[in-house]
Amino acid sequence: MKYTVGVADMKVGRFGDILVTHALGSCLGLAVYDPVAKVGGLLHAMLPLSKINKEKAEANPFMFVDTGVPELFQEVYSLGGQKMRLEVKAAGCGEPLGNNQMFKIGERNLTILKKLLWKNNVLLNSKDVGGAASRTVYFYLDTGRLVIRSNGAERDL
């Protein structure tokens, strides 16, 4: 099955499923995969910290990195994924031009992710982040292959 992950959304799946998320600007796309159990999940989180809007975080934890990432891992565990085996990849976290300090949402999303992973002893295997291009992520759960389409070109991550 092919599942589309919207903005502030998360989907998990098993062998044979494809998870897709479009229009990653400053948002974080985080993919987690267990190559043995062949299960994985994809998160599309918008903002770094849930304290900005606790009510929203309660209703939809996937809007924020600090509440969405733990949920993503939990869901993958519940499908049989094991922490020691997980491959973790990040995409997105872009910025508009002009280096405006007010609008470092992408950079802050990545910082919060790194802190969370570090605290929990999880390694970030690879990332395709920053810049001003929009990204679409295709995540194939038969092999864990992750393809990024950006600017009309495709690359594996």
Partner: protein, 281 residues
């Protein structure tokens, strides 16, 4: 060559249908505090399609009204006339913008969703910054990208040249101008001018990517500018250009924006758009 393109592109704006007379009349009323309910009802009486869509929007989850509203008069009482004019604009803009925009790689409905998102984010920014209310900001934001409807066909043919420039760090609207002699903001302003919109709205559309270049400093331009970048960042209506627009520091400074304000508005915008923007799907 560029000048030829520009004059042809401007000529292309004539193919954009005019807004219904009712919409422009109602918009004019925003500036006239004496206009009464009967006048507004009178304008909409002969516009059944428009009226039906306005009522649909009134009954959307966005407003959360406890009972279903069945008449313009009721909508006026519950929402106020400014809101009603906004909803009229939303309906009319939807009729124009609910389509795919080739060139910018926007699929059907995306330009529309983006436009509503920027309107709602703009209103959100005005509120969070405690700025004096100017209901026209909503309409300026709603129409800021209307020039893309005309520019899209031209972009398509020259996207490689534009991409070459943006790859070197040139912002997208500057690259449009370098290659085609004009950009979607200028073309949008031409369209608003032809609809006889007030100068301040024309300027807000014209300079939504370069607010510091507006003839006069204008909060409306700054707000539309920031709201637009914000909605692109959160992926609403992000097209071929991605985030390749420059964020104006003078605009964010003038507005006195803080990161928390921006994130607060961002966190609400998505829900607002889903509640209001899905009515026509």
């Amino acid at each position: 060559m560029k000048d030829v393109a520009k004059s042809q592109i401007i000529a292309g704006t004539k193919a954009i249908p005019a807004l219904p007379r009712a919409a422009t009349k109602l918009f004019e009323m925003l500036q006239n505090p004496d206009a009464d309910m009967a006048e507004i009802e009178g304008i909409l009486r002969f516009e059944p399609g428009l009226t039906a869509n306005i009522l649909k929007l009134t009954n959307s989850a966005y407003f959360g009204l406890p009972n279903k509203v069945g008449s313009i008069r009721q909508a006026l009482v519950l929402l106020g006339r400014e809101r009603l004019v906004e909803l009229t604009m939303v309906t009319c803009a939807g009729a124009l913008m609910w389509k795919s925009v080739p060139g910018y790689n926007l699929s059907p409905g995306e330009l529309w969703r983006h436009s509503i998102a920027v309107s709602l984010a703009a209103e959100g920014l005005v509120k969070v910054l405690n700025l004096p209310e100017d209901k026209r900001v909503f309409t300026a934001a709603l129409l800021h990208d209307i020039g893309k409807l005309v520019m899209g066909d031209w972009i398509k043919g020259d996207i490689e040249k534009i991409d070459e420039l943006t790859a070197q760090g040139t912002s997208f609207e500057v690259a449009e101008r370098l290659v085609l002699g004009t950009d979607h903001a200028e073309i949008g302003a031409e369209i608003l001018k032809s609809w006889a919109f007030p100068q301040e709205l024309v300027m807000a559309v014209r300079w939504h990517h370069q607010p510091e270049r507006a003839d006069e400093p204008s909060t409306m331009v700054d707000i539309v500018h920031v709201a637009n970048v914000l909605c692109l960042m959160i992926g609403i209506g992000i097209g071929i250009e991605g985030l390749r627009y420059e964020l104006s520091s003078s605009a964010t400074e003038k507005l006195g924006l803080k990161p928390a304000d921006i994130e607060q508005v961002a966190s609400s915008t998505l829900q607002w758009v889903d509640e209001l923007g899905n009515i026509f799907v």
